[in-house]
Symmetry: C2
Subunit: 221 residues, 2 copies
């Protein structure tokens, strides 16, 4: 049952006695392991093996497995929030702002494929115990504010901004989280290629925009 994910050596060659590099490599391997198995299901052994160090090093740098998990969540939060902060949306139309956020969502799933999976495992296997560490209140709040602004300005149909944010997160994340199932359906067997992901991005963005934009003849709320 253990697949290629376990026991494989990390691509980055280890440099002996380089604390910062070692910590980073442990966090990289841990993030991958937690993304697949969640806190409870993750094993420290493959994390150590993929890093190229022994299990003892993990405990030396991070303490218990649970503390390592929290460290992964915190590093993800810092990286993600810095990406979100770089997006200034204040002088864009609600539609343009939403487009920008949706693009960021797809790009982030692509460049940080473990981020969303760790978050989902946090909800499913860990009951959201450490959700606060992920910093996700910020982007969700920003997104909801954009939606509310669109409703107020009359370019979006009347909608609940928080629930709609949840719908949008569902659209943007499910394709990636369920990819291993989807690829076994004939028309989606190629779903992990760059071309397929770009096709998904365009389809998803069009779907979400159609879902929130007010139709021409529709009356104001």
């Amino acid at each position: 049952m253990k697949s290629s994910a376990r026991g494989r050596r990390s691509s980055a060659t280890r440099t002996a006695r380089n604390p910062e590099a070692t910590k980073t490599q442990i966090l990289d391997a841990a993030e991958e392991e937690f993304a697949r198995y969640g806190l409870a299901g993750a094993r420290t052994e493959p994390i150590a093996a993929n890093t190229g160090v022994t299990k003892a090093m993990i405990h030396y740098y991070f303490g218990t497995k649970e503390e390592l998990y929290q460290a992964v969540l915190k590093r993800q939060a810092a990286l993600f929030l810095s990406a979100v902060e770089q997006v200034d949306v204040s002088d864009l139309s609600p539609e343009a702002a939403l487009r920008k956020f949706l693009r960021l969502a797809v790009d982030y799933e692509n460049t940080q494929p473990y981020h969303g999976k760790v978050l989902l495992h946090e909800a499913m296997t860990n009951e959201g115990k450490y959700f606060k560490l992920t910093g996700w209140e910020v982007p969700i709040g920003l997104g909801a504010a954009v939606l509310q602004r669109g409703v107020d300005e009359g370019c979006f149909r009347p909608l609940d901004p928080w629930l709609t944010m949840v719908h949008i997160m569902g659209v943007m994340s499910f394709y990636f989280n369920a990819a291993n199932n989807l690829k076994q359906l004939e028309p989606l067997s190629d779903c992990q290629s760059p071309e397929a992901i770009e096709a998904f991005a365009e389809s998803a963005i069009a779907f979400v925009l159609a879902g929130v934009l007010k139709q021409p003849g529709e009356s104001a709320s």
Copy 2:
């Protein structure tokens, strides 16, 4: 870390020497455990404890943990396909047919809360190895056919029916799968109450319909 989910006795009182009842109870407890932890993370101990039997009984009836997992997937598939088969959509308009499917999706997540979570874990922790056992090609294919029919008849905008089915599955499942995270956001703290779920259902159905329906002035494909 082990929360209330583990070690709790099943609500159904056990009846000694009733093979079918025992098998059913083991499958019930196993489904809950696999829904939370996936195949790799699930433990047979809490399954036995929640059933009220010993671990030995699990192996007596189902063999290995992995075979038990397959049995859970197969039972879910049979139940789900019988529910899907009871929906006849052939003489409904595409919009009415889609509405009917979306309602079924919400109701099914409600009455079978572990179904979708097991399926998602199958993708995330098990690489979709046993996805074929779930029978999901059928409902996804039916849904895609309805979407295609809507495009052909001109009531839905031009869209990729398979990708759009994926978007829809994302909308309908994410709320439930991420509930433990979402409930920690102030406006969604109540997200698991029946009233909140009904509000989600209406919002999600409106969102999806808006996402696929052709706008009045829009030209045909």
